[in-house]
Amino acid sequence: MASRGFSAENHQPVPFYRNVKILAVLLQIAFVLIVALVFWTLYSNMVAGLRRANIPLGFGFLNLTAGFAISETSIPYGPQNTYARAFIVGVINTLRIAVLGIILATMLGVLVGIGRLSSNWLLRTIAGTYVAIFRNTPLLVQLLFWYVAVILKLPRVRDAVGIEGVILASNRGLVVAWPRATETYGAWVHWLVAAVVAGVAVFVARRLQLARRDRPGAALPYALLAALLLMLIGGVVVAMTTGNSPLRIDQPTLGGFSFRGGATLTPEFFALLLGLVVYTAAFIAEIVRGSIQAVSKGQREAAQALGLSPLQTLRLVIFPQALRIMIPPMTNQYLNLTKNSSLGIAVGFADLFSVSYTILNQSGATVQVILLVMVSYLSVSLLTSFLMNIYNSRMRLVER
């Protein structure tokens, strides 16, 4: 096409070895061939190696009896169950720590990030020191420190520290008071359903009202308040009519060598959660600080000129705008936290990776287990970024 400007008699057809289109196709074919060759060599080496080492191929091993116990399970599991079930226990444990960790790390990180911008010198310095310390040391060192040097060094159960009946910490873990269902819980469930419905209704109604008036305002607090109120009324009604409260607070008490009652966090879970939250929060704090600083100065000045208090300025003007900037880097931190939970193996927490490692050692199905682990982490990562992308695009719609 470019040759059209030149004199026509000099024009010669481009030889095929200089034709960009043909070259591109040839190059890609060569690339595919090289990649295929490399993979084929590796694969055949691997199959030969596996044969030599007498390692089973295929995924049949998953139906064999696991034969090992897992200290921490959310679904019924015993050594007589299969490898597949052990693996699922690990997946659930990873998801548990990831979800809880993400929520707590976000809360702590936002607090520290805002603290770094405080007008209070002491708060600012403490937040800055926190970030500088925890961002610049390896997570594994921190995890080991929390586990061996802090939690396992807590007093024995007999001398547990904390408030009896509310929260107790010892070298066997953390025990907190926890609500448990009683016999009348079934009657209360109807009220719970009604509360959810009422909450949604209030939310929608308030949104419509705000839209009609064309004014900004909050809808969620009203909805939550309505739902909570209805739940409370329901609880009281059930308790009055049956004489039995639907929920009972299970309080932890000291009983000789172990705790009685309450919900227990094992030392391993506690250490991993603490380590992940403290480490990730330092990174989240930097993201929050950066995003808040990225909101243009005029916005803050305009909000102050309108007579908003500093807290209102932050909550209604600065933070919603900063939120948009911080979503993509936050997604990265959430993914990092999920992947970092694989370090649970260092403190003996039975997460996806450490359960899989036990399976790998016992069954000898090395390649399959590693493949399974990688695919699991990959799908968790892809799922998280998918959800965050949805959230991101929703937040972007608000933008004018």
Binding site: A24, L27, Q28, F31, V32, V35, L42, N45, M46, A48, G49, L50, R52, A53, S118, S119, N120, W121, L122, L123, I126, A132, I133, R135, N136, T137, P138, L139, L140, V141, Q142, L144, F145, V148, A149, K153, L335, K339, N340, S342, L343, I345, A346, F353, Y357, L360, T366, V367, I370, V373, M374, Y377, L378, S381, L382
Partner: protein, 404 residues
């Protein structure tokens, strides 16, 4: 670029005389909420410091650290061969001194920081020999600086050549040769401690650099097959934890290779770290590539440069310059990530810490020495990562990323 001019924004505002009471009122007690925060936090900090310092100066047992300093630094590297590590360190410091002399700028700050660090260590209560070595290192930085700044033009080429040759020189020096009397072979299994940590991070970042650049270029390629492959690789590696890649290398790498090839553990770990780091590096480089305006490519093509020349001479130099701070950041996270090789059984700094903690000599200590040793190791990591973070920040302002 005239970098000698001081930009207006760097000039400090005229100083105002503020007395201490004024400062307190403005920064700690402005409003009842801030006063409350100050009082509560202040009490908490004082209590915490009291507890920690009280522990550190009374109950804490710090002896494991000075007695094991050598294995913490070099692992099980033979004692009588440690001079080789010292020579490597000397070479490195000499190079930093030379570079500071030749180029100045940020390198001068780095070199003076290194010299100050060595000087600080030299006045610590180590053995006389260690202190002499450290003092020698300080002198070496100074000598390098003087030589470098005296004859900039002559030393520039030599310094660059030495920098490129230094990794090979160091590896050969550390490894030695079988049957050579002055330089006996030291198995890589004996390398450990801080030496191994630094080696893993430095070799990892150097080896992953070309791969990362290729992956970044591939990801922006117009050829769908190449692009698909690179995207798949990058997303796969970024989607899984490093520890799975490490285990894969430890367990599966021997399977992938023919039966007669044996790979030592250090190489396996290095392969894993390189493959892992390359994916992250590729994303950083891609950011740099995207920041190059299309006009640069078009101008290069208009001058008659072909695709390779355009990429090598026009696009990459600008793109890489823009991502230098990000690369330092990547190095920091790689430095921290090297601690994971302790899980697969290599005795780098954290692995050695584990060995030190388990030594029978500390069985009599009531609470064990976990806290002391882990705190020391954490401090060593922190010093490195924090200094790199400072360097990265300086580079960012110096290179004017995003402003030019």
């Amino acid at each position: 670029m005239s970098s000698t001019e001081l930009p207006v924004s760097r000039l400090k505002p005229p100083g105002s005389s503020v007395n201490a009471l004024d400062w307190l009122r403005r920064n700690l007690f402005n409003g009842w909420l801030n006063s409350l925060i100050t009082v509560l936090l202040g009490a908490l900090v004082i209590w915490l410091l009291y507890q920690v310092l009280g522990w550190a100066f009374t109950t804490a047992v710090w002896t494991p650290i000075p007695t094991n300093l050598q294995i913490l630094m070099t692992g099980r590297y033979p004692s009588e061969q440690v001079w080789r590590v010292q020579i490597c360190l000397a070479l490195l410091l000499l190079l930093f001194g030379l570079s500071a002399g030749v180029w100045g700028g940020i390198l001068r700050s780095i070199a003076s920081g290194l010299a100050a660090g060595a000087l600080l260590l030299a006045i610590m209560p180590f053995t006389l020999q260690t202190r002499l070595v450290l003092a020698g290192l300080v002198l070496l930085v100074g000598a390098g600086f003087i030589v470098g700044s005296r004859s900039r033009h002559h030393m520039r080429r030599l310094t660059i050549a030495l920098w490129f040759a230094s990794p090979a020189i160091m590896v050969v020096l550390l490894r030695g040769f079988v049957g050579v009397p002055g330089l006996p072979y030291v198995d890589t299994g004996l390398w450990g401690g801080l030496l191994l940590t630094i080696l893993l991070a430095v070799v990892g970042i150097i080896a992953s650099f070309p791969l990362g650049v290729l992956l970044a270029l591939g990801r922006r390629s117009k050829l769908p097959v190449v692009k698909g492959f690179c995207v798949g690789y990058i997303e796969l590696i970024r989607g899984v934890p490093l520890i799975t890649v490490l285990f894969m290398a430890m367990i599966m790498l021997p399977l992938f290779l023919p039966a007669n090839v044996r790979v030592d553990n250090l190489i396996r770990v290095l392969v894993a770290i390189t493959l892992f780091s390359a994916a992250y590096l590729a994303e950083n480089v891609r950011g740099g590539l995207q920041s190059i305006p299309n006009g640069q490519v078009e101008a290069a093509r208009a001058l008659g440069l072909n695709v390779f020349q355009t990429t090598l001479l026009i696009v990459l130099p600008q793109a890489l310059r823009a991502v230098i701070p990000a690369l330092v950041g990547q190095f920091i996270s790689l430095f921290k990530d090297t601690s994971l090789v302790a899980i697969v059984g290599l005795a780098e700094l954290l692995g050695i810490a584990d060995i030190v903690i388990e030594q029978p000599a500390w069985l009599t200590v009531p609470h064990g020495v976990h806290r002391e040793v882990l705190l020391f190791v954490g401090l060593v990591y922190w010093i490195f990562c924090f200094s790199f973070a400072q360097i990265s920040r300086h580079l960012e302002t110096r290179l004017g990323v995003g402003t030019r």
